[in-house]
Symmetry: C2
DNA sequence: CTACAAGCTCAACTTAACTTGAGGTCAAGC
DNA sequence: GCTTGACCTCAAGTTAAGTTGAGCTTGTAG
């Protein structure tokens, strides 16, 4: 057989490790795109695998699908994203990760200093100092501090 | 006035920055405890503020309430947790945070190397190498504290 | 050419972590 | 002694991110 050009959802599911239903879902959310065969079945181009990989990775660090979708908007619709396109995205992502890492460190040190110390002055405790704490876009929790 | 010994839920809400309904919720989940006045109103001892602070902080790094509750089980029920009690908890937490930080770093470097490179061999990509990635248990970064 | 695995759509269910609302009680100031 | 704001309970609603199921269509291997 000639090298496969396009992938069915089953193939994408298998290769990416996510469920078919999740792929449908991502598509509905605008995270991935497909075109249809004459029989109305989805066909994906190969770069969908990269997208899905990135989606999973991003989710694992607590980035919501909405945010991922937003990041993906920097990718071109019309052509397959090239190195430059991905590079841009990865740079933005790396910055976000750097940020989160530093937040976590702060937290860890705060915990060590503050909880460990047994002090009871909660008001002065760094853990209570919201400004200096994890940004409101926190790492994992859903709808974090958003009022 | 003499120093306030106990706090109403409204006071805790104000001082901790979480909603009254959330405090009710945490109590239902066993994360905090209160006793009742003769008129059936909740009264909290001061250490609830520390607990709530920790709950929020932990959530922000993606620890679920269930796990926080589990961690809190190491705290004594009968007496106010002392320095030693909190110290124990913070140590466990710090390890988890250290772990998470290192995972994020790995991820960041993976992104930089892999996405940035523009390579299309998804299969060999570190991002696809699940074993070496964040624990693959579902969405978000649940489960920092391994049972 | 037919069986049956793989697809499709759409609606409903799931879990976490809360919020909102209804309907009723408590307590502190005037 | 009453009014008003803080509380109470319990049920139902909300959002994210999917999953599950029913009922129907496609496509491919034998």
């Amino acid at each position: 057989m000639a090298p496969v050009r396009e992938l069915t959802v089953g193939q994408v599911a298998m290769r990416s490790g996510v469920a078919v239903s999740a792929l449908h879902f991502y598509e509905a959310r605008g995270l991935i795109r497909s075109h249809r065969t004459s029989g109305n079945q989805r066909r994906y181009s190969r770069d969908v695998l990269r997208r899905v990989a990135i989606i999973r990775v991003a989710q694992e660090v607590g980035i919501s699908l909405a945010e991922i979708a937003r990041a993906f908007q920097s990718l071109p619709e019309e052509r397959t994203p090239n190195r430059e396109d991905w590079n841009l995205l990865s740079t933005a992502w790396r910055d976000a990760l750097d940020h989160k890492i530093s937040q976590l460190k702060k937290l860890r040190d705060g915990l060590t200093d503050c909880i460990g110390c047994g002090c009871m002055s909660i008001d002065k405790c760094p853990l209570r100092n919201k400004e200096d704490r994890l940004a409101r876009e926190g790492t994992g929790a859903r709808r974090l501090l958003v009022p």
